[in-house]
Chain length 237, copies 2
Amino acid sequence: MQRKFQAIYDVIAREIQAAKMEAGQLLPSENELSERFETSRETVRKALQLLSQNGYIQKLQGKGSVVLEQNKLPLPVSGLTSFKELARSMSQTVETQVLALKHKLADEYMQEVLQCEKDTPVWELHRLRKLDGEAVIYDKDLLLAACAPALTEAIARDSIYDYLEQEVGLSISYARKEVVVEEAEATDTEVMDMGGYQQLVVVRSAVYLEDTTLFQFTESKHRPDKFRFVEFARRTK
Amino acid sequence: MQRKFQAIYDVIAREIQAAKMEAGQLLPSENELSERFETSRETVRKALQLLSQNGYIQKLQGKGSVVLEQNKLPLPVSGLTSFKELARSMSQTVETQVLALKHKLADEYMQEVLQCEKDTPVWELHRLRKLDGEAVIYDKDLLLAACAPALTEAIARDSIYDYLEQEVGLSISYARKEVVVEEAEATDTEVMDMGGYQQLVVVRSAVYLEDTTLFQFTESKHRPDKFRFVEFARRTK
DNA sequence: AAGCATAACTTGTATATACAAGTTATGCAA
DNA sequence: TTGCATAACTTGTATATACAAGTTATGCTT
């Protein structure tokens, strides 16, 4: 048996997104749902917990599960959404330009950020993201070559995550991110359309696989006026 | 019985933070833990799930739960951490100056951001945050007065959340946040030490109670060089 | 010695039961 | 009519059991 609670989550999440369930309404009770999906109450509860975590519902003891209003502008930098998904909901025309894709051996900087041995084979990937013709995002990736043997420019232009998860069979699991504002460097201003700005929003992230190996380090620089980060956060008591 | 799994979570989280458990090590198995804490395996699993969500451990089917490396610099804007907690780990000297605390009736702008009726009583609160003597954060809060009857300057200087949760008995539950970079306005440059910057990082957040009522809207403006946002994010498949 | 099946672990999922705790509507009593 | 106890719902927590699925070490077979 594989993930009945996941299937229930998908069904209800889809219904909420399709606005079949209006915001403010109560979901059917856990007992009713367990009958409808022909499963136990605990399995339904697992699905509801996921929905709650992702901001679809709010559970109220004694009352039920309230459907929350969905963000009109779902701009997800949160979670681990990739640029491909991000771009889709953001802009009219999107273009990715691969500036560099090189196989290298880890120098000191790469060693540190990827926490690997010296001379470990890595991919160095530089990409320029154009929204509506303007080069406003500059991504620099470092990836463990061992995890991504046959990386090509075509893949880098499309989606690395799709390739890794579907072709290579890797499971990306979690990431640590940092968002800061920094002065633009000469190399940035050479390739980006700066639009008069001197600073850039820099998102640095370390991405880990299921087995906790750090396999990717990304530095993503955004022109300030094109940067937006939205988040749904639950209070941890 | 109240939250045995929470107690187990607290114990293990504390152990990891105190570095009694080293990063990379395996936790005792779920069966061992359930014996140690004299409880069932399911209860242990709930505690481990929380630990996993919050970035303390990574679960590996067939192997066990690996302790993850804790962030050396745990700068939490993520979640719903309040400024008071944030400041503690960030800077040497921290000072909050209350610029304004007024009881008002909702105008059109307040109506919209708080999603309330016209003329609903609200608190308008302006605070200036000084780190090491520099005024680098400017917070503007709007709160439903019905939820915070006796707000005072002293409370605003200390912690509103402590007051609301401990005195009034409210339960803050979740929030939607947005982070963008905007041009500083005249009112900003008047009160803040801009340090030559023209832009500000603006964090807007809508905070909700357990019963899903929106009760607070905050606009927090940060001088770019003093802003940092870190996050632990799990991939949702 | 090398390779492979297997046993003995680990976590993941699904089920059933019991009771606690919070909400709401019912209906009786004053 | 008003007020209050209560019954009938809701979700929250804890327990026990069973089996699936992944990992690792053991030991036998070749």
